[in-house]
């Protein structure tokens, strides 16, 4: 209908499937995020380590290039693949936390600042779908810089070394995938929870970083003063590293908590964040 016909008319066209509507929020969040040149530039920069690591893998198998670089013959450039891939995941998860600090505060706080939530929830759109839509916005961005390039690197190495190498090192692919997913899950939930509770975006971003750095500082202080290892329970970054180490078959030190305890702590953090989110993502707050 032409816009000059200014009369009310009902909509009689087709509707999108209900299950797909959370994706609308994800699309809009990305559109908003990538309006910022800083964000776009930063996101492109996040792929730089993956390119360097891919070049490293290629170099490792190119004798002519190694000769050109005057590397000693018969000695590979990369001799510890678990460490190589683990370092890659740790670099990328480092970018991911910065990405979370930058992007997560823009997700929920603008909706809360001017009370837009009743408009979301007066539609056939649930609170769970709302959180899922916002979660996907940040989680997919982190996926694009963590496990997706990580698995591509793994496949490159499989292509260069052969399927036999792939089978014997399959645990590395599992480590890249599940280790990255653990980081993504925890970062995303912390970012969303802080975005819901802290309306001022710079503060929310700083708190995302603070959660990890302050947690690490306090955890270390508790361990040192009380001569215990319970301080690790408030150091979420350490628990993530521990979980990642388990996946990459790195033996844990004697002064570490068990990997089961690490997983439980990470699940508890996620549950706490979900509870905080459920408190804020309501159409109306009821004063009882």
């Amino acid at each position: 209908m032409a816009i000059y016909k200014r009369t009310y008319r009902a909509y009689a066209g087709a509707l999108t499937p209900e299950w797909s509507r959370f994706w609308v929020l994800t699309r809009y969040a990305w559109r908003y995020l990538f309006r910022s040149r800083v964000m776009t530039g930063f996101f492109i920069l996040c792929f730089f380590p993956a390119i360097v690591m891919a070049l490293g893998l290629y170099l490792n198998h190119s004798e002519s290039l190694l000769r050109l670089l005057r590397m000693p013959p018969g000695r590979p450039l990369i001799d510890d693949f678990p460490l190589y891939f683990r370092v890659f995941v740790q670099i990328q998860t480092g970018w991911a936390i910065l990405l979370t600090a930058f992007a997560a505060p823009t997700l929920i706080s603008p909706d809360l600042a001017n009370n837009a939530l009743p408009l979301y929830f007066c539609r056939p759109f649930s609170r769970a779908e709302y959180v899922l839509g916002k979660f996907c916005a940040i989680a997919w961005l982190m996926s694009l810089i963590t496990w997706i390039p990580g698995l591509i690197l793994f496949l490159i190495e499989v292509g260069l070394s052969g399927p036999a190498w792939g089978w014997t090192h399959l645990y590395l692919a599992r480590g890249i995938l599940f280790g990255s997913l653990a980081y993504i899950l925890v970062y995303s939930f912390i970012g969303l929870a802080l975005s819901a509770w802290v309306k001022w975006k710079p503060i929310a971003g700083a708190l995302v970083l603070g959660t990890f750095f302050l947690g690490a500082g306090f955890g270390a202080a508790i361990n040192a003063v009380l001569r215990t290892k319970n301080g690790y329970y408030i150091d979420t970054g350490h628990m993530l590293n521990l979980f990642m180490g388990t996946l990459f078959r790195v033996p844990a030190g004697d002064d570490e908590v068990s990997s089961v305890a690490a997983v439980m702590q990470l699940l508890a953090v996620c549950a706490l964040c979900l509870w905080l989110l459920s408190k804020k993502t309501r159409a109306f707050e009821v004063v009882r």
Partner: protein, 320 residues
């Protein structure tokens, strides 16, 4: 016309406080006004109908859908304009309305087209690429109306749509509501403190007080009934004049300072009043058909509702 809203013993409690207390009523008008003093439960009723608050008892149906079991269906066919500010400041109006349309299930292209249409319809066509944070209060109200209409709902719930608007903006909003009602494609529930707005736009009124239904009326019928009310200003001895009118079967009340209020009996016409006044040597200085305004109805209803509880069914359907 099919029932728009059916309240069946609906109760809502927040903790120990009863906000809505066993509401029973059937509303079937094209535009329904929801009235009541502050804290009467109007907004809670709207929120309960939209499924935001779970009923503590009873239930309600919106266009045949049960609010306990079919919330999603209700939200699909309802457009809601909340009372308070509700927008995303850093979005343009067209993006915001399009987002809301997509969340209601419209495909992206259709949502964009409808967003433009809705914004033109409410009169924000020229400002649709401006960020909502830069809008005036009146423009924000119109943007809220646009998002309520964009998905083409069968019922639009407007919670205080004229709040904070200056007179021209208020008139514009009222005109839009009237146009929507007249289009016949959408039915309206209008919740307002401004009785004049409700009177101008609605054909049925439900008055709430202290969480109870204190009055339900069909304004068209009320208007017809009110044609028999007459107010007089007289000079002279009123007592014999009033006595003569009562003898003719009219109800009559002397209000002092020469004012007489009466209800004409069937068969008694205005010329009979002039005749009796002439016979009793009473001068008629003014004669008005006194229409019971919505304000009168509202005040009486609220006054009655403040008294000890009356049976809900009779209050809901009784005449005042």
């Amino acid at each position: 016309m099919s029932a728009l809203i059916e309240l069946q013993d609906l109760s809502v409690r927040f903790g120990n406080r009863t906000i809505l207390d066993h509401l029973n009523c059937t509303l079937s008008g094209r535009a329904i006004g929801l009235l009541g003093p502050n804290g009467a439960g109007k907004s809670t009723l709207i929120n309960s109908l939209l499924g935001f608050h779970k009923p503590a008892g009873g239930t309600a149906q919106v266009l045949g859908y049960d609010i306990r079991k079919q919330t999603k269906q209700i939200r699909t066919i309802v457009g809601y304009m909340p009372e308070n500010d509700s927008f995303i400041a850093n979005m343009t109006a067209v993006s915001f309305v399009r987002l809301m349309a997509e969340l209601s299930g419209l495909p992206s292209e259709a949502a964009l087209e409808r967003a433009h249409e809705a914004l033109f319809y409410v009169g924000l066509g020229e400002a649709r690429y401006r960020k909502l944070g830069t809008y005036s209060l009146g423009m924000k109200q119109l943007a809220k109306l646009a998002q309520a209409l964009v998905h083409g709902p069968k019922l639009v719930v407007l919670d205080e749509p004229t709040n904070g608007l200056d007179p021209p903006a208020r008139q514009r909003m009222i005109r839009l509501v009237q146009e929507m009602k007249d289009s016949g494609e959408v039915r309206i529930v209008l919740c307002s403190h401004l009785l004049h707005d409700v009177e101008q736009t609605c054909d049925e009124v439900l008055i709430l007080n202290q969480g109870r239904v204190v009055h339900y009326s069909n304004l068209d019928e009320e208007r017809k009934a009110n044609l028999r009310f007459v107010e007089l200003e007289t000079v002279g001895d009123q007592a014999p004049f009033a006595e003569a009118l009562i003898k003719m079967g009219c109800e009559c009340a002397l209000l002092g300072q020469g004012r007489v209020k009466m209800v004409l009996n069937n068969g008694v016409e205005i010329r009979d009043i002039y005749r009796v006044a002439g016979e009793r040597q009473v001068q008629l200085r003014r004669l008005n058909y006194r229409r019971d305004s919505l304000e009168d109805i509202f005040l009486k209803a609220v006054e009655q509702g403040s008294r000890p509880p009356v049976p809900v069914g009779s209050a809901a359907h009784g005449n005042l």
